[in-house]
Symmetry: C2
Subunit: 460 residues, 2 copies
Amino acid sequence: MENTYISRKVREENAKFSRLNVIIIGGGLVGSLCACVFAKRGYKVTLYEKRPDPRKTTACNGRSINLALSHRGRKTLRLVGLELSIMESSIAMKGRMIHPVAGETSSIPYDLVNNQCIYSVGRNFLNQILLNAAEKHEGVTLVFKHKLSDVNFEENTLKLINQETKEIITETADLIIGADGAFSCLRGFMQKRFLYDLTQSYIEHGYMELRVPASRGHKLRNNHLHIWPRGTFMMIALPNQDSSWTVTLFMPFKQFKSITDPEKLLNFFSNTFTDALELIGKEELVQTFFTSNPAPLITVKCGQYHMGDRFLIIGDAAHAMVPFYGQGMNAGFEDCTILNNLLNEHKDNVKASIEAFSEQRRQDVHAVCDLALYNYKEMRDLVTTRSFKFRKTLDGVLSKWLPEIWTPLYNSVSFSHMEYHKCLENKLWQDKVLKRIFQMISTILILVFATIIYVFLSVK
Amino acid sequence: MENTYISRKVREENAKFSRLNVIIIGGGLVGSLCACVFAKRGYKVTLYEKRPDPRKTTACNGRSINLALSHRGRKTLRLVGLELSIMESSIAMKGRMIHPVAGETSSIPYDLVNNQCIYSVGRNFLNQILLNAAEKHEGVTLVFKHKLSDVNFEENTLKLINQETKEIITETADLIIGADGAFSCLRGFMQKRFLYDLTQSYIEHGYMELRVPASRGHKLRNNHLHIWPRGTFMMIALPNQDSSWTVTLFMPFKQFKSITDPEKLLNFFSNTFTDALELIGKEELVQTFFTSNPAPLITVKCGQYHMGDRFLIIGDAAHAMVPFYGQGMNAGFEDCTILNNLLNEHKDNVKASIEAFSEQRRQDVHAVCDLALYNYKEMRDLVTTRSFKFRKTLDGVLSKWLPEIWTPLYNSVSFSHMEYHKCLENKLWQDKVLKRIFQMISTILILVFATIIYVFLSVK
């Protein structure tokens, strides 16, 4: 009798959990994937997006650095059964192809041991797949053209304004997720609250997207991420499905500004990116350069991601980062897996789960923000140095010999689920070990050399 | 003829300059002093404050750590002819009076050489004097109960909402100053703009104001800032004109929370602040503690203070800091002097002046924010150590002997107009010099000691 009662109680509780109401603000990549994850948990999800449905409008240009999907992102896609279909439409990149100012290009593989790849995928394409997948779930409602206009953290309510009719609706839910990007509106409200730590910082460089058309795309070696490292600036290219390439120029804003006319631009390109100029095309380059503005690159670090009992920010809203480690989307997707695990662990207790999310995620996303900043220097500058190539080779050899012990930084970040802060700690430990080894080797060499001289002199 | 023309042109230009229209947002200490400075320049000033006129309402309680006026603040007051009248109503504090858990109190002077003091002054009193002074100027209009609601940086317009009628007015001016405090509304709008760097961070400690009534005030030795340093927390007391003292308890929020009933509170005070408990009074302590909440302490650092051609934030809006160096108000007042100098230098060219302000002020206010954080550790902990007292004595001796070369950190911050970042550099240089000297002394001592032993042994 008691057992029956308990099991009924548990069933009731479970039923209650499975009917959790969730609001997601933001229908970008992380928001729409998060909707799928929650739908799979049996939650009722309403997703509000301020823009019109991207599936019904013509694709918007620019402002979307191509995406490099790696392990962390794939794991969450797998969770909702979308990994395979998305992988099929992505292009493997097995290494960096370095274009020097003059001379031959050279390839540096991402993974010397297991030949693992990162995958180039289009933002709009991916967003559409995720929105379609979310919409297929019975419990998911997508609402477009609704912008967050006010939040009450005590009463767990939101106000949203219909962008067309200007009508304001008030909403509430058991869990409210802000996945509204680097300039998150929900974070803006959190930031004004008691004891909210926040840092937003821009780098002095901006980016501009250019394009190699499909007709000339075959001239760039496939299955690579192409880099034109130039010390203080750089250009990269990622492949698209239609054989075109999305090219992104990263450069100090001042330098963008200093290029004031087509002649200067073409001179700059023909001196600095000789091979790329041909591929992009002179006319197209001039056209794009002088009709678009370089976009800024922001890093956002927060002290916590939850607020009150029900609010949580994830993805870029929680940790916008510069794009140089290709981890922005991957970290955002990983947020969904982590939140899903915490909701399992805490049996759908929202308050406990979102508090644990803040606690668990903070140092990891701070670490990956720092890694992304560091990687800009690596990509635009260090990548051309001998010491970099030597270290990559050494890392490859060591991880082949000692696969259990030696995971190179890039591999732990892109091809594992190791917590980001541990990736960083691991790298620092490796640096220390290598330094010690080199010190030992040089001491031994000096001793050997001294012995030889001694023997030589005494024999003489 | 040409000369006449030029001089007329110059006069016209000057006349134009002197008619500059300025809007100041915020009628606190910095806003109202800034209005006086501009009025003296012949500008037409409109000051908008969101709260009602503080001169017509009963003084609001709490939330205002007593202020310690020092050199930088006094300089700007002097500029507008208010220094003497304010100094007359302030109380000199010549040193810190340290209250240990048990045993005698001891005094550590702020300035061992010239006996310079900092001055305790009440926030409300000072604010009223400054508002009265501003209002006396013909060109100054004070408008209360108007809150900033929107900003257009391109069109140089503001929207302000009348807090009573809810009417919205649109305003513009040649120069728009945000002096609207640590949670600045104008900064909030700047923060959303292109490339705006910002850090806001809270410490884990809060503060609560208590009071020693005038009837028992004489029991605390006058002309001192009293400190009860307790390692991880502390209490301070600053004198008021009416012989009462404003007491401020700084403590981790967790510790505040852990004191849940009057018994715990009285136990805590009688064990930790024995002498203070008598002065504050048990009943008053319990009453205040359980009817108020600890307030947070924020640090705000910005990458720039101007926006567009006409907007500038100053004071806490530009650089909120923790109160432990007594420099919040002083740095804000110094902003007014610096802005005034820059407007002189750039002949009232607003754009050039506010850009130069950002450039010139950034590293200084970042430095004083860091110094203020550091000084909390000094006040609550280091101040009790022997090494601290030794260093203070050593600094005193050295600055007496070498007044041109050796200015101790506290003196350069509080009793000079040295740029804050130079105060910090100067301190680091002093630390290095002292370290070298101690190394030299120990080497010499070892040598002397070795020689003595050698001589002793050889004689034997």
